[in-house]
Symmetry: C2
Subunit: 90 residues, 2 copies
């Protein structure tokens, strides 16, 4: 489920910020393409890790956040962050 160039960056972003709009995510993930952003968001949603909320407004407004199932992944993200911290200081 987390295989993919931007899966973890997206999840970490939604971990830091509970609710993000599409364009916000795009801005906060320098280098990601529109295509991969939507593709990965769709996959994450299909896997039940994130929720997608379309407010049906004009202009469109779509928000993403970690789902309940996705929050079960938090221990993994936290452990990953800890790992990266340890790795930097060694």
């Amino acid at each position: 489920m987390i295989q993919g160039r931007w899966k973890l960056p997206i999840l970490f972003r939604l971990y830091a910020d509970p609710s993000m709009r599409t364009l916000q995510l795009k801005r906060d993930l320098p280098g990601i393409s529109q295509k991969m952003l939507t593709a990965h968001l769709r996959e994450l949603a299909n896997d039940g890790l994130i929720d997608r909320v379309d407010y049906g407004e004009r202009p469109r407004r779509v928000e993403y956040h970690l789902s309940e199932g996705g929050r079960a992944l938090l221990p993994v993200l936290i452990a990953m962050r800890q790992f990266s911290v340890e790795r930097m200081s060694s």
Copy 2:
């Protein structure tokens, strides 16, 4: 570092069994090809997550195990396993 079809399976295997020979790994990872096994093992070793020990015997004997740096990844693996358990039962 864990991106790749077999990276996590390999790491979990070395987590369960502290020392594994190449052919053992191949046997315990049904479907992996010789190429991907050695490629991934080399990458994991280059990233400092596993140690590779070549005993220089004939026939050859090469063993792999989690390195000290790789054991720093254990909390991640444990959290992942917990996640998968929770996911199954829901």
